[in-house]
Amino acid sequence: MEPYLFIIFGLMAVLSALMVILQKNPVYSALSLIATLGSIAALFILLKAFFLAFIQVIVYAGAIMVLFIFVIMLLNLRKDEFGPEKRKFQRLFALIFSAFFLIELFIIVRYALLGKIGKTLTIEADFGTPQAIGRLLFTDYLFPFEIASILLLIAMVGAIFLARREE
């Protein structure tokens, strides 16, 4: 069952990611990105990251993408303002660069990763549950956790300060 689900959601993620960068209208791009994030949440469940899958849906697909849509609405963009890149050589260069990047990654996975790891470890019953992650967050990762809360506070103050209209 897992291989089929992996193929289905992997294909969905890749196709909707392509839609994100190929759509002319940013609203459609944002909606495609929500589909990508949903597929990645499904892949998280396949990887036994249940808590993260829900956080992905709530925080990313819920909160962050609503913020995106909100800003798209506020900017009220005209059609001519989001035309594709006109310079052909730049697009060609970008395509070559990202293809090169992908090939590099394939080579790394092929020679360094494939078959090297993959010994069947015993995974605990509570792997990926909120309890297990919460226990780790409040013991080993307490300091990063507190720093993250300060970061969120600073981001909130910064966003309010930046978006404020000058008097």
């Binding site: 992996f6 992650i133 990762y141 978006a163």
Partner: protein, 100 residues
């Protein structure tokens, strides 16, 4: 059972699509979405490795990455609003004040 290398390859494909979108698109919002796509591809790789190694540390790091992504989205979208207010455009090529 799907091997971890397939997940890493999928993550790499998503990351490359994000890089491509970042480079070819001129709309500042779509560029920002491409950055989010790259962050998610990295998260997928981290979760795949966490399952492979049998430790939860990778998942905790993904949790922290999501926190940073939320902060980044808030501040980034505020900057995009300011950019639009000052330049009356959402094209990244109009932000050329510090261009050499």
């Amino acid at each position: 059972m799907v091997p971890v290398s397939y997940y890493i390859l999928l993550s790499g494909i998503l990351f490359s699509i994000g890089v491509l979108g970042f480079l070819i698109r001129r709309n500042v919002l779509v560029v920002f979405m491409s950055v989010e796509l790259m962050l998610n591809a990295a998260n997928l790789a981290l979760v795949a490795f966490a399952k492979e190694m049998g430790t939860l540390s990778g998942q905790v790091i993904v949790f922290l990455v999501m926190t940073v992504a939320a902060a980044e989205a808030g501040v980034g979208l505020a900057i995009i609003m300011l950019f639009y207010r000052n330049r009356k455009s959402a094209n990244v090529d109009d932000g050329n004040l510090m261009k050499w």
